[in-house]
């Protein structure tokens, strides 16, 4: 302006001239500046704009033009410019203006979805959208540029990035597993179920996303199975409900692991089989084909294969084959058991059975049938095996058969013993009857198996006998009803015991005779034969042999041969003295006479044979039996004396008296060898045998004797009291009595006593 002033002064004539316009042009700097700033701002804003894209959604709740943002990793990457419907009103077209830095989002593999709050039991998601309103979210894997997109209906679970580790499971059916269900490896959550769908072949698939840091847990041999949200178990502990967890309960879950040696790390996008359950997953060994006669109760994927009761395998498929009239199953085992399954392996179906033998396999009512596996010996590797359909009991038998001791019992006849009947030993069931059959000799045989733990009980001298269903015994005064177990009542049984010292034979004995009852069995096996004149009352298998009143054997057979009755009897072991050559056997029958009633017990117990052991070392198997009325007479094995007389009215049965006390009996009356004398055999009760000494005198005291003057006579009467007569004896006083007499000493039987004999009064202490 200073330049203007002198001009104005110079031409200060009041003449107005146009001022120099250029001087004040600077004012225009303001609009230029403003335009520049505004232009720069607009340009900057325009520069920050990325491409425009269009996303088609099924619905777009809460999406507002100008407000809703497009978020990528939580960063505003664009904003909605317009929300429109397409022509046919089926979709919502959302136009989004991307930010320049997010231009990459406009590429082909980008997914867009509307994030909205999800509040459910299993997930709590998009909480911020409650406050901020719904937004459009994106994730991308890159790809060629694209501006038209179809939005996802649901929020994807994880940002799918480049190089994400996903695997695919496929199966025939996919159980209830929701998108987002957790994937566990040994209890640690390592991923989620990303997608449920079908593959090209229409098989259901599950896509899993595994966290990168856990990708090494997925191996090529990993097995996947669904976590059972709830497991209701009805077992020995009662009803048991397992709940894996609330989230698993609602959306299920997947667990995986590898069994055996870990394989190589699986590549991304590998495909795995999805097992039905954990057990199914664990049985990832080789597949075996097994043929069964019958497939009742077999359920593919559920029926287990047990080894010693421990499940080790699973039936994979069950299929009836009409051609071979069988059921073809495939099964898999735990890999570690693959090696023991071979052609010799027995696979048997165990199912419940209710029979007279009892209820077996009852557990299978609850657990379902299972297949029992028993490894065999010497099998060849095979993948095709044969299975068997048997009951639990039979399985037990097979077990026993394998481990136990097989015995053959033979008998003449085998009533009421069934297959499966128990074998008892002292009341314990130690085995089972396997089979009932006839052998080549037409003998009835029983195949019996003894459980392995009891096999030591069988020895060479074991005796087997049948258990009758019931036995009623009438003993003296007692009615004894023996009732075996109900089981035995219904099917009979076999019992055995070893009598005497057990004989350990080198080679195990496997054939035994089956006796009818315990008594027969107990009796020593080598029979003795006794000849009787009369076999009245002797019953085979019933009549006993007794020694001192105690049963020591049994009559096995009674038969007539010639004029005699031959009794075949068996003695219990340990009574070898009774086999001695001079043992005495006599039948005891009831006798009622004036002398008394003897053998009355035989009225009830039946006739028995009383045995008197002999002293001879020589053994015999054949004896001559006697018939006696009174057991007492034989019983005193005491002192046997021979009385020699010229003739005597005395008969066997006559009593021998000492000082008026009956101490013995005449048992036999025979002729002497030369026929000149009569020989009476008297037996002095052992209790009194010490009274007989060498110089003892015996005299006949039977009948009524009368002495009339010097004439002595005797009235020979059959005494009413002692029809067989009486024998008395006296022993001289101590000095003169001589040594004690021995068995079989011969004395003279005087017809009458001498006067001084009566005065003898020795003091003879008993030996005891």
């Amino acid at each position: 302006m200073n330049t203007e002033e002198p001009k104005r002064e110079k031409e200060d004539h009041g003449e107005i001239v146009a001022t120099h316009t250029g001087n004040i042009a600077w004012v225009w700097i303001f609009p230029i500046l403003a335009a520049m700033v505004a232009g720069w701002l607009f340009w900057k804003q325009w520069e920050s704009l990325g491409p425009k894209i269009e996303i088609t959604f099924e619905d777009a709740p809460g999406i507002q033009a100008g407000k809703t943002q497009l978020l990528y990793r939580g960063v505003k990457s664009g904003s909605v410019e317009a929300v429109e419907l397409d022509k046919d009103l089926n979709h919502v077209v959302v136009k989004v203006q991307l930010e320049a830095f997010a231009a990459e989002l406009a590429s082909k593999n980008t997914d867009f979805w509307i994030e909205r709050p999800v509040i459910s039991l299993t997930e709590l998601n998009g909480l911020e959208s409650i406050i901020q309103g719904n937004s459009i979210q994106a994730r991308t894997q890159g790809g060629p540029p694209e501006t038209q997109f179809t939005g996802l209906n649901k929020q994807p679970l994880l940002p799918l990035e480049k190089g994400a580790f996903t695997i695919r499971l496929q199966s025939k059916t996919i159980p209830l597993i929701n998108r987002g269900a957790p994937v566990y490896n040994r209890g640690i959550k390592v991923g989620v179920v990303r997608k449920k769908g079908f593959d090209e072949k229409g098989r259901p698939t599950l896509d899993l996303y595994i966290d990168k840091e856990y990708r090494s847990t997925v191996r090529t041999n990993s097995q996947f199975w669904p976590i059972e949200a709830t497991a209701l178990q009805l077992g020995q502990q009662g009803l048991k409900l397992d709940i894996a967890g609330i989230d698993a309960l609602i959306q299920g879950g997947i667990s995986f692991d590898h069994f055996g040696e870990p394989g190589a790390e699986a590549a991304s996008n590998s495909v795995f089989e999805f097992s039905l359950n954990e057990f199914d997953a664990r049985t990832c060994g080789k597949t075996f084909t097994v043929l069964f006669q019958e497939g009742r109760g077999l359920i593919a994927g559920a029926t287990k294969v047990c080894y010693l009761g421990h499940p080790i395998g699973l039936i994979d498929s069950v299929e009836a084959v009409p051609a071979s009239h069988s059921v073809k199953t495939t099964m898999r085992f735990y890999p570690e058991y693959d090696a023991i399954v071979d052609s010799a392996t027995k696979l048997s179906l165990v199912c419940p059975r209710i029979s007279l033998e009892g209820v077996t396999g009852l557990d299978t009512l609850i657990t379902g049938v299972y297949i029992d596996m028993q490894p065999g010996v010497g099998g060849k590797p095979a993948t095709e095996l044969l299975g068997r359909t048997i009951s639990d009991r039979e399985w037990q038998t097979i077990q026993d058969e394998r481990n136990g001791m097989l015995l053959t019992l033979y008998a003449h006849k085998l009533p009421t013993i069934d297959k499966g009947a128990p074998v008892f030993h002292r009341g314990l069931t130690v085995g089972t009857v396997l089979k009932k059959s006839l052998d080549s000799n037409d003998r009835a045989t029983l195949q019996v198996v003894i459980k392995p733990e009891f096999r030591h009980l069988i020895s060479g001298n074991s005796r087997f006998w049948r258990i009758p269903a019931t036995s009623v015994k009438i003993g003296p005064g007692v009615l004894h009803v023996e009732l075996e177990s109900v089981e035995a009542l219904l099917q009979g049984g076999v019992q055995f015991e070893s009598f005497g010292t057990s004989i350990k034979s080198e080679s195990p004995v496997s054939e035994f005779q089956l006796f009818d009852d315990k008594k027969t069995a107990q009796a020593e096996s080598t029979p003795i034969r006794i000849r009787f004149d009369n076999g009245r009352g002797l019953v085979a298998g019933r009549s006993e042999l007794r020694y001192l009143g105690v049963p020591v054997g049994i009559v096995e057979n009674v038969e007539t041969k010639g004029q005699y009755v031959w009794v075949v009897a068996r003695l219990n072991s340990g009574y070898d003295a009774l086999r001695s050559q001079d043992a005495v056997y006599s039948v005891v029958r009831p006798n009622i006479s004036l002398q008394g009633i003897t053998g009355l017990e035989t009225l009830v117990s039946g006739v028995y044979i009383e045995c008197t052991p002999g002293s001879s070392k020589k053994m015999a198997t054949s004896f001559v039996g006697k018939t006696t009325f009174d057991s007492e007479e034989i019983t005193p094995t005491g002192l046997s004396v021979k009385l020699k007389a010229e003739g005597s009215p005395i008969n066997p049965g006559a009593s021998i008296y000492y000082r008026g006390i009956s101490v013995g009996r005449i048992t036999e009356k025979t002729l002497s060898l030369d026929g000149r004398d009569v020989l009476l055999t008297g037996v002095i009760n052992r209790k009194y045998s010490h009274l007989v000494h060498e110089n003892t005198k015996f005299w006949d005291a039977s009948g009524l004797k009368a002495t009339v003057g010097f004439l002595k006579f005797r009235i020979q009467t059959g005494s009413v009291i002692a029809p067989d007569g009486q024998v008395c004896f006296a022993t001289p006083d101590n000095a003169a009595m001589g040594p004690a007499s021995n068995d079989g000493d011969t004395f003279t039987l005087y017809s009458e006593p001498q006067a001084d004999w009566a005065k003898w009064n020795p003091s003879i202490p008993t030996k005891e």
Binding site: I16, I24, V27, W28, F30, A34, K67, K76, Q132, G133
Partner: protein
């Protein structure tokens, strides 16, 4: 300051005002963040917002006061500057000039309120108000129009143009 300079300055300011009017209205003047919702508002956006919330009279007032009035002022000013030197409707121009001077002081009320709002409306995550570049342009626009009115003195209305004077 010579009347010629005043005239030129006023003209320049009016042109600047018109230029500034674009960014002032196109750029958001403030950003309101309520519970996380970030909402950038332009002047017209604010009017729209008010209108949509049902406050039609308020929207009208704001529209007139903040949207229309500045441009009306600039137009009037431009008209007056265009008629500078002519003798057309000089009394009306005087009246309008007086009117512009009068309401000129009120024009800044928007900015004043915005600055108060920005200062007070800081409620953490719940709500916050932030002034945006638009406000700067807006206030610059207002300053331009006020200055233009102030610089163009009323006596200049009565000045004849130099050509006419010659």
């Amino acid at each position: 300051m010579s009347p010629r300079l005043r005239l030129q300055l006023a003209r320049a300011l009016v042109v600047t005002g018109f230029i500034l009017y674009l960014p002032a209205n196109l750029l958001p003047v403030m950003t309101i963040t309520i519970t996380g919702v970030v909402e950038p508002l332009t002047v017209m956006g604010g009017v729209q917002e008010l209108y949509h919330t049902g406050l039609v009279p308020v929207a009208g007032i704001v529209f007139l006061a903040s949207g229309v009035l500045p441009v009306v002022k600039l137009l009037i000013m431009a008209w007056m500057l265009a008629l500078h030197g002519s003798d057309q409707s000089r009394p009306l121009r005087m009246a309008l000039h007086a009117f512009l001077l009068k309401i000129g002081t009120w024009a800044m009320i928007d900015i004043f309120l915005l600055s108060i709002l920005t200062a007070v409306g800081q409620l953490g995550i719940l709500a916050s108000v932030r002034a945006e570049p638009g406000a700067l342009f807006y206030s610059a626009l207002l300053v331009c129009s006020i200055l233009a009115v102030d610089i163009y003195k009323p006596y200049m209305i009565w000045q004849d143009s130099p050509k006419k004077a010659q």
